[in-house]
Subunit: 214 residues, 2 copies
Amino acid sequence: MGRTSNAREKILTAAQELIEVRGYTGLGVAEICAAAGVPKGSFYYFFESKEALALAVIDEQGARQDREWRRILQDAAAPLDRLRELFAKTEADLREGQRTCGTITGCLFGNLTLELSNQTEPIRARLQQIFDAQVELVAGVVAEARARGEVTVADPREAARSVVAQLEGQVLFAKLYNSTGRLDALWANCLALLGAVPVAAGAGGGSAGTRARR
Amino acid sequence: MGRTSNAREKILTAAQELIEVRGYTGLGVAEICAAAGVPKGSFYYFFESKEALALAVIDEQGARQDREWRRILQDAAAPLDRLRELFAKTEADLREGQRTCGTITGCLFGNLTLELSNQTEPIRARLQQIFDAQVELVAGVVAEARARGEVTVADPREAARSVVAQLEGQVLFAKLYNSTGRLDALWANCLALLGAVPVAAGAGGGSAGTRARR
C-alpha cells in the first residue's frame, strides 16, 4: 500500500504542476503519467477520469490554501494587519513561482474558473466552495475590524467578495505583465473598499500606524 | 475576392464563438472550419497557424470593444456617470451572452490572459496592449473627475488599473456563479477605489444626485 499511495501522490503532484503552468484542457493522461514517472495503467486505478484528477488537484490545493489562509486570517494580530499579511503572502508565493517557473502562473483557482467553470459543473461547484470559503474567512476579519470601529463598510460579506475580486483581478494582471508589482496596490485598495477609518499620525498601537491610505 | 473575404470572416466569427465558450487550447483547426462551413484548406490560406487566428480574433474583438469603450467613456456626460454606464453595459453584455449561451462566458481577454499569457509571448503582448488601452481610457475619465474635485485619488492611472482589476475580478465571479448579480457591487467599489467625494443629499446636477456611496 505504501508504494500504491506513493503513485497517487506522484500523479497528483505532476498534474498540479502541469495544470498550473499549462491549464487543464491541453493535458493528456499519458503526459501526466510520464511526468509522474508512473505507468499509464495505474492512473485509472486511482482516478476514473481526467476530470476526477482535476477535482483531486483542486481539493488538495484547496485544503493547503485553506490551512494557509486560516493561519494568517485567524491569527491574534489586529484584523487589518492580518489582511495585509495575506496580500504579502500572496505576493511572496507569486514571486517564488516566478523564480521557479520563469513566469507567473497566477492563481490555480482563478485560472480554472476562467478555463472551465462554464464547461463542467462538478469543477464549477468545487471552485465555488473554495471561493465561498475564502470570502467567509475574509468576511470574519472585516466583521472584527468593523466591531473595532476600524472600517465603516455596511456588509462584511459583500465587502469580502469585493476584496477577493480585487485580489483575483490584480493576480490576473500580475500574470499578464509577469510582474508582482501589480499587487502593490492591494493594500490601499483593500482599505478603500472597506471604508477604513483614517488613523491620525502617531496614533497609538502597532497596527494603526501602518494604515496609510495611499 | 468577395467570396474569399467572406470565408475569412466566417472563420473569424466561428473561432471567436468557440474560443469564448471553450477557450483556445482545446480547439482544433478542423473543428473551427466545420463550424465556419469552410473547407479546411482555406484556413491556411488566411492564417498561418492557430495562434495567428487567435491573434486575429483578439484584434477584431479588441477593436470592437475599443470603439464601444470610447463611445461610452469619451461621451459628453459627467465623468463618473460614464464609468457607471461602462459597468451597466458590461453587465448587459454578460446577461445577453448568458441568454444566448446558457451560461456566462466572461471576458474573452481575461479568459485568454489566464489560459495563455504565460505560454505564448505574441498573445501576451497583444492582451497587454488591450488592457493598457482600457486603463488609459479609464485613467482619462478619472483625471477629469479629479479636475472637477469629484474624486480624491492621487494617481489616475494607478486608480484606473485598480478599477479595471476590480472589473475583471467581478466578471470572473459572474462566470463562476453564472450570475450577473456579482457586478452589482462595481459602482460602489469604483467610487471607493477612486476616493469619491460624498455628495450632499439634494445637491444640484443630474449626475451628482446618483452618487450614493453604498
